[in-house]
């Protein structure tokens, strides 16, 4: 009798386990193409809208808290619950959370992730809400709005842009006998300044072999020499061109000529600038709100034009509405009201050291008067290149990070490093196309 029970229980357990496995094998429900976010306001019952974001550092948390509480107090039937976490954590947690119906209702994601998330069925189409907001590509720096679209639908609404700039420690220039207010803008001027610093025993620009900031500088230089990361339909990597090799050689020459140590650690470049060991650093606009920098005599400028044309790397963030399993349309609707309100109040966002994506907000004269440090970055947006947008692209981008690291650490020649990465990237892009069917 008891043995029978055990046997039955065991059988039931095995059946359950196998059943679970098989259910999971069947792949669950199909990723819906994602519904639409409807336009218009929200007048339904009171809802709490969960908002995941990666604004954990610098002034971000305070500014966001202020904006959210302002919104909450002026909207009786909507409560925004902001959940800040590291960008990497969002990328790691969100996809599976959404599939389980436990993701946020609205989020801010990196522009380079929008297409991937859209192809994975994680996002809702935002065309209608964009229409209500009267948003189109002419409202943003060239190329930015298109980056938030996938297969003729808009999924990401641009929120902020974060270009690279040239940071200068003016005291170091002064000590080397250079005019602290003369900013080098051309290759000749930049080389001259570096040579003058060298003559005084100062390593003028530390070159970092990591994504922050070596890869950003590399991409800026690649575009300056007329190169591109990928071809038009993102099926082939093209950075192993002459332009790519030239870009890497420019960076390597800094090391070979004695303008940089050979093996700089991550963030070693900005730390050296703050410590007064170097004069120049190509770094992101987010450093304008770096508290350690504020006690120094520093300035920021547009990156100099080393190559044949003006170009600079920029990242971006986008609003996106989330296609949770069983998503409550009331919450999505309310989230739309929130995004619209945030866009109308995005001027305040500049305090975080990020530029509002909307042209008209940046052109507002009070932006520059309130945040003078951001001024040099504004003009850069005319020629800024944003990250490539295609499903699965982060896997391919990571290969370039390895190549730049290998070349700057002189493990491989620039051509070899870029060729190896491009070859692998082509296979990766082929797999992406196959898997995501774009």
């Amino acid at each position: 009798m008891k043995n029978g029970l055990v046997r039955r229980l065991t059988a039931a357990g095995v059946a359950l386990a196998v059943g679970t496995a098989l259910a999971a094998c069947s792949g669950g429900t199909a990723a819906s193409t994602g519904g639409d976010v409807k336009a218009g306001g929200y007048d339904g019952p009171k809802v709490t809208v969960t908002f995941w974001n990666g604004f954990t550092g610098g002034a971000g948390p305070q500014v966001l808290k202020k904006l959210v509480s302002e919104f909450n107090s002026s909207h009786k039937n909507i409560a925004i619950s902001s959940v800040p976490m590291e960008w990497d954590d969002i990328a790691a947690k969100m996809p599976l959370a959404v599939k389980a119906g436990r993701g946020p209702d609205v989020t801010v994601v990196h522009g380079s992730d929008v297409a991937t998330y859209a192809a994975q069925g994680l996002l809702l189409k935002a065309d209608a809400i964009a229409k209500t907001l009267k948003m189109d590509e002419s409202d943003f720096p060239s190329g930015l709005y298109e980056n938030g679209s996938y297969q003729d639908a808009q999924y990401g609404l641009p929120w902020s842009v974060t270009p690279l700039g040239l940071y200068i420690n003016k005291d170091v220039l002064k000590k080397a006998g250079l005019d602290e207010d003369t900013v080098p803008t051309t290759e000749a001027e930049y080389d001259e300044a570096l040579a003058a610093l060298r003559a005084k025993g100062v390593q003028g620009e530390w070159v970092d072999p990591y994504f922050f900031t070596g890869v950003m500088e590399f991409q800026s230089l690649l575009w300056q020499y007329g190169g591109e990361l990928y071809n038009d339909d993102v099926s082939k990597a093209t950075y192993n061109s002459d332009a790519g090799v030239k870009a890497l050689n420019v960076m390597l020459d800094r090391i070979k000529q004695g303008d940089s140590p050979a093996k700089v650690a991550q963030d070693g470049d900005i730390n050296a600038l703050i410590a007064g060991k170097t004069a120049f650093n190509w770094n992101g606009i987010w450093q304008t709100s770096n508290t350690a920098l504020q006690s120094k005599n520093w300035t920021a400028a547009a990156v100099p034009q080393i190559g044949t044309e003006k170009a600079v790397w920029s990242s971006s963030t986008d609003w996106a509405f989330v296609n949770n399993k069983g998503q409550d349309s009331n919450k999505t609707q309310a989230a739309g009201v929130f995004v619209q309100w945030m866009n109308e109040h995005s001027l305040a966002w500049a305090e975080t050291g990020e530029l509002p994506a909307t042209n008209s907000v940046r052109e507002d004269s009070s932006l520059v008067s309130k945040y003078p440090n951001l001024k040099p970055f504004l003009a850069e947006l005319d020629y800024a290149h944003f990250e490539t947008s295609a499903p699965g692209i982060p896997s391919a981008d990571a290969l370039l990070n390895t190549a730049v690291n290998e070349a700057i650490l002189q493990k491989k020649s620039p051509q070899q490093a870029l060729d190896d990465a491009a070859k692998k990237a082509d296979l990766q892009l082929q797999q992406n196309k196959q898997q995501y069917g774009y």
Binding site: K2, A265, G392
Partner: protein, 314 residues
């Protein structure tokens, strides 16, 4: 309620005489094992079998269609020039380098410390606590801490070295071979305390009379170590060696935090690569296939290791 009471009191009278005692005992044993067995089935057996199934597909958990591709994920690993083969075998190589470089130190250093601590010296327990202390820290803590200390330009280690007049721009976390030295050194500092405590317990278990007998036979300290200490430690050493090899082969956090797998991908261990491929890039199929290949290697090494230890035991 009352039913239960009746049944319970009735049980011994109804069932006992007919059933052989052995059967009852087996049943009792199974009942005691059941909770663990359930956990084992749910969290080990099912995922292990399910993983084989996953490895036969182009399995992106976020996509509705997960095409069956047979052994393609495995064949790719053995096809030079494929997307995964180069990176996979390179990361296997990195894991092998780390294991071979770290295990001897992770066994020898604790053995030395244990023998020293086993002497009757004043403050022995203080030293034991000091050596064990790093082990209580998580990998995130030791990783971040040593990244600051070993920073080539701003780190304390190079600063101290330059104070003593040694060349002070050693790229501890940026370039090889220094990155390997850092990874092994940090791991030895971190884990040795644990192995020391285990070995120390083993030393305490060796009968003191054996040492006396050896002394009567005229054995010196070295001879005693070889002929009494080492044989006496054999079972404990087998445990320490096996867990240390497996631990080193599964190294992830130190590379992830200290060197980020660099320069290039030279210190990217196989667990780091598999985790990235499966969890960040959502290529669960390929990642599962790699896990099984890694599993085969580790199983093989464990079998060889056990064979060697048991032969010595005979």
């Amino acid at each position: 309620m009352s039913d239960l009471v009746v049944e319970r009191s009735a049980l011994p009278q109804v069932a006992p005489a007919r059933k052989p005692r052995g059967g009852r005992r087996t049943l009792t044993a199974y009942l005691f094992l059941a909770p663990f067995l359930l956990l084992f089935v749910v969290f080990v057996v099912v995922p292990a079998v399910y993983g084989i199934w996953i490895s036969l597909h182009a399995w992106n958990p976020l996509l509705p269609v997960k095409p069956f591709i047979g052994l393609t994920n495995y064949l790719q690993l053995f096809t030079p020039g494929s997307l995964t083969s180069g990176d996979f075998w390179q990361s296997m190589g990195a894991t092998a380098i780390f294991t071979v470089a770290s295990v001897p130190f992770l066994v020898a250093v604790p053995l030395l410390l244990a023998v020293l601590l086993n002497q009757r010296l004043a403050g022995g327990s203080v030293f034991r606590a000091v050596f064990f202390a790093p082990y209580v820290l998580g990998v995130a803590v030791i990783g971040v801490m040593w990244r600051y200390l070993l920073d080539p330009q701003n780190g304390a280690v190079n600063a101290v070295l330059s104070f003593f007049g040694v060349q002070a721009d050693i790229p501890w976390t940026v370039d090889v071979p220094w990155a390997w030295i850092s990874l092994v050194g940090v791991t030895v500092w971190w884990i040795s305390g644990f192995n020391t405590v285990i070995l120390l317990a083993g030393l305490k278990g060796i009968n003191a009379e054996l040492y006396d007998a050896a002394a009567v036979d005229g054995a010196g300290a070295w001879r005693k170590f070889l002929s009494v200490t080492l044989p006496g430690l054999r079972p404990v050493m087998a445990f320490v060696t096996t867990t240390t090899i497996l631990g080193s082969a599964n190294m992830f956090g130190q590379s992830f935090l200290l060197t980020q797998g660099g320069p290039g991908t030279e210190t990217r261990t196989v667990i780091m690569y598999i985790a990235n491929l499966g969890l960040s890039q959502n290529q669960m199929g390929a990642a599962s296939a790699m896990s099984y290949v890694l599993f085969l290697f580790l199983a093989l090494i464990s079998i060889v290791n056990f064979r060697l230890q048991s032969r010595r035991g005979d």
